[in-house]
Amino acid sequence: MSFSEIMSIWWPAQPGVSILIWSIVMILLMWMARTPAHRTIRSFSLVIRNAMRMAAHSVTAIERRLLERNREVLLTTGLQETERYIEREFQRVEDVVTRDLSGYPSLQRDLKEQIIKIDEDYRESAEVPPVPKNYIDAIEAVNKINSNGDSMVSNILKAIHATMKRNCEKETAEYRRSSKQRHKLLKVMMPYWRNLSKTLESVERKIVGLEERSKVIDAQIEKYEQIMAKTSLAERVLTSSSMTQFFTSGLVLVIALLGAYVNFQLIALPMSEMVGGASRLGPMRASDVAALVLVFFEIVLGLFLMEAFQITRLFPIISALNDKLRKNMALIAFIFLFIFAGVESSLAYMRDLLAADREALTQSLAGVAVVAPEFRWITTVGQMVMGFILPFALMLVAIPLESFVHSLRTVIGMVGVFLLQMLAFFIRQLGSLSSNVGYILLNVYDLIIFIPLKIEEMVGNKKSKSVVDIKDAVSSMTS
């Protein structure tokens, strides 16, 4: 029996009347079932609302846990970074102390020797010989004595004068020689003074450098203390630093990827000469796969090299190796990288040859005379140099990669928290919506059966009115 047949069951000739009868029957049935229907709708919406509320609570709890975990990760990462920074600063201080200040006793000895030398020289230069002043007066006096024509006296006086004069000249010469010697000593002192001054300046510079390092260490220690204390300021600073790191390292990685693409393009064509240009690995040509593998291999070697130098710490197992083993590993990685750079350079050369051959063939097929372009060697050399340098440039990818990986944890956590917050909000809204929908359904239900409801209300009023009249009558009778 179809729906239309059921609808026109009451009065098949008049489907309109039949539908009207059905409507009345339905309204009456709905009026009769009003209370259980209302209860069902109310409980149904309540169940949904409660379920949503519970789900929202669970999501909020997960969000809180994730937030806590993010905080832990952030603080731990920050702590590790600061520890590393402080460690490096101390290492630098130690280097300065070992390199420069370990020679301090010898430096002190040098300074002392220089000072003693200067002192001795100074003392020597300070010993002034007596000036033969009296001689001149005595000579003058002897010269002025009158011999009174006595030749013997005159001769004696002349002899005295000559002797005195000779002695005076001798003394003067001795004085001059001594003065010259003093000047010479003072002249010799000058470089010692200069040396002394330079040595003291260098000592001052080192001390100032150490002082600056100690200031940096102080700042880092303060940061470390704040992280240890888990202050909100430290958390905010670390979050901001993490976001900055994420975006900057991401940008550098994109640039590095472009570099890797250039590197790939440089070796893909000549690779087909080595592994064949027709064989395929899935949708990719085997030569392209080989070129990609070579590029990735170079990046991996670069990573190992950086790890071995302890510039990055992506692999704790490498950091944990002893120094000798790490140095050997770095050497091996470098040798391999060097070989790969050489291979790439030769592939770049081969690429240029192939391109030239292809160009000549294209010209020949087009019926144009084959002309070798001038200054082709410039591109050849350029490609070879690029082929050699790019593997070493890609080696540096390790640094932004480490930053990216570390900051990615924080960023993913933040995104997760945001998504969970949104989910909790959405679920809460859904619960509230179900409650409102239940309320609307109740009203719609009553709207459909408003006629019997109105009749019920009117009858109910009359009944209550007659009950009130009877009560009034009873009360008046009793009173």
Binding site: L269, S272, E273, G276, G277, A278, S279, R280, L281, G282, P283, R285, A286, L353, L354, D357, R358, L361, T362, S364, L365, A366, G367
Partner: protein
């Protein structure tokens, strides 16, 4: 628990390796195989210089692992004797380039020495071409017919049977109008329509390219 996870990971890796291995192939399914049939009947030999540029274009487009065959359409074309040049290009690009030079030289020689034939056995040529394409095992298969598409078969030759064109794109190039076509153009249109239905009803794709200035994308499938 840890062992179970490791086992699952190792199984996954093995599965991935085995799923990749079948994909490692000689590149046959990705390769292109082209057969170009040159009509050498009557006055159409005058058009062969145009065909040279088409051949050069195809040579420039094909790469390592692809195959190229050029054959004549003459009185009885279902024969290896009509092959002018046939090559599968080497895996190494440098070797492939030198093969292309040799191929070009062979075509130049043929164009210079060609003699016109009395009949035009296009169907025989098509059969021969389909055979070559099947042998090559290439994924992209093309037959180019440089002809006016007017078939004239010697008496006794049987060609009125279906040819399996499945997976093959047949392109009629430089379909010149005959004198009779000028009198009744319907002849020309009917000729093309006949070939179209013959190719398409046997699983092939049909194209006509008359403007030889626009041959870019000639090796792309519709």
């Amino acid at each position: 628990m840890k062992n179970t996870i490791l086992n699952k990971i190792s199984k996954l890796i093995i599965l991935m390796v085995f799923s990749v291995l079948p994909a490692c192939s000689g590149g046959g399914s990705h390769a292109t195989s082209v057969v170009l049939l040159l009509d050498t009947s009557g006055t159409y030999t005058n058009e062969l210089e145009k065909a040279q540029s088409i051949i050069n274009y195809i040579l420039g487009t094909l790469s390592s692992g692809d195959s190229f065959t050029v054959a004549r359409i003459d009185s009885g074309s279902f024969s290896e004797k009509d092959i002018v040049a046939k090559m599968t290009f080497d895996d190494r690009p440098s070797a492939a380039n030198s093969q292309k030079r040799t191929f070009q030289a062979a075509i130049n020689k043929m164009v210079a020495e060609v003699k016109s034939s009395t009949y035009t056995d296009i169907s025989g040529g098509m059969l021969q071409a389909i055979e070559f394409l099947e042998e090559s095992g290439a994924g992209n298969r093309h037959v180019f017919v440089f002809s006016d598409m007017k078939e004239e078969i010697p008496e006794g030759h049987i060609r009125d049977f279906p040819i399996n064109f499945a997976g093959v794109t047949v392109t009629a190039l430089n379909v010149t109008k005959l004198r009779s076509d000028n009198v009744d153009p319907r002849e020309y249109l009917d000729r093309l329509a006949d070939w179209k239905s013959r190719v398409e009803s046997n699983g092939g794709a049909w194209r006509v390219v008359n403007d030889l200035e626009r041959i870019e994308g000639l090796l792309q499938n519709d």
